[in-house]
Symmetry: D2
Subunit: 142 residues, 4 copies
């Protein structure tokens, strides 16, 4: 299984009075991670929205092990934890110099412009499969 990588520097804006990145910053970096993964597999999310496929976050979870301070370089690895015809769950790992900072996941439903459930676009499941931890019915991740 492949993992997609991006790196981000912690912004001053993202720190709080505890002198570490606020816990919401991880969710924003995870968003950067899946944005980049979707682009890499040929399904830029902005284009998906233009085509009427929206992937709102319906559930998320995150565990923090260590703090990241202003200027730190954070590596975010993104993969697919679960892939269904109408939903997708991404997994994430944030590290700094090999040390785990946080891990988490976000679950997304596929809906249309007026929030009705719809199937993910044709081809996306195949495109995401190399990054998928868990198989979907009858398809094995490499």
């Amino acid at each position: 299984m492949k993992k997609h990588q991006v790196t981000e520097r912690v912004r001053y804006f993202e720190t709080d009075r505890m002198k570490v990145a606020h816990h919401t910053a991880y969710m924003v970096w995870f968003e950067v991670g899946r944005t980049s993964l979707m682009e890499e597999v040929g399904f830029p999310y902005r284009e998906m929205e233009e085509r009427g496929y929206f992937l709102p976050v319906v559930e998320f979870s995150c565990r923090l092990k260590a703090g990241a301070d202003y200027g730190d370089t954070v590596k975010i690895e993104t993969w697919v934890e679960r892939l269904r015809t109408r939903s997708v769950t991404f997994g994430y790992l944030a590290t700094r110099d090999g040390v785990e900072l946080a891990q988490g996941w976000t679950k997304h439903l596929c809906v249309d412009k007026i929030n009705r459930s719809r199937k993910l676009p044709a081809g996306i499941i195949e495109a995401l499969l190399p990054y998928a931890e868990i198989t979907i019915a009858g398809k094995a991740a490499k």
Copy 2:
């Protein structure tokens, strides 16, 4: 001239590693101030957008005198600095217990859904006039 008042408590999220609210927090509180003022005068901004009147920020400025820390109660006063048929400039003052924290202003153009200049909706100038520092052509603020 009347000034509209709201109070906000500084959120942990809004602080940074200098242990004060990040300078962008003032712009967000000013936004809360003008949202509340627009409601008070009968032109809730969300409804304005639904009617096709958009007021994007085209310029803003802010001067900071003192820092606000987590939990501080910040009073934001909002008024109208300049009122034209196609633009409006709001003025703001943020204080804590009577001490000035920041002052600033935001200039907004009135545009339609596809970003073309348009006149502010009928009646809004009269509605905002009591909060206006500067008169518009031929109309004196009270």
Copy 3:
């Protein structure tokens, strides 16, 4: 068991291009909720930090049922899901006009200034007990 209540209006800043509050906004509102609860029970969190008790978020989770748009009034109920001598887990429910928007929880460890585990301050467990869903050893929530 009591639940603490606060209400927040969705800020323009908090919305995203899907025209609802970004999912991180719920974590910020939950933070406002627990800040207010801690104050109500006589342990303002800012004072706790000044006394050397830090409660960093070590895990969080949130499920979203419906979107909240700009200007919506969101009620956040906060309670204690789990109370230990060195950690506390808060539970949250966000609603708009009685309709569930989101629910979630945050787990916090108690640490000192240099991040070493320490016991929660004396008296806080008793103070939080009326808001506690789950008892701590030998103490029943009312």
Copy 4:
């Protein structure tokens, strides 16, 4: 005069219901720009704070010409508009594919840990000079 360059992609989190980056996002990108410039000239700002030199924003201003949407690549150019022994003003230009999105500036005072005015650290003026638009007493920018 040299200008320092960084590029950022617009994050979903940074957009608002007008489907463009919120105006505060520019201030955050400008912060990224000056962080990077300070590193390039050998005065990483995090280290400066560790040495007791703080550069809080005391004034800022920004003019917006066009909106940036989710995923857009924004180039931020940063330079020094004014350099004094106890303050510095940075200038910024944000563009997308050569089109101006915004320009602005931030003024910073140099203070110590307890907010008393102090001189900028030795050597920083010489280091910043190549990026300076305006000379300081007796020193010409190249």
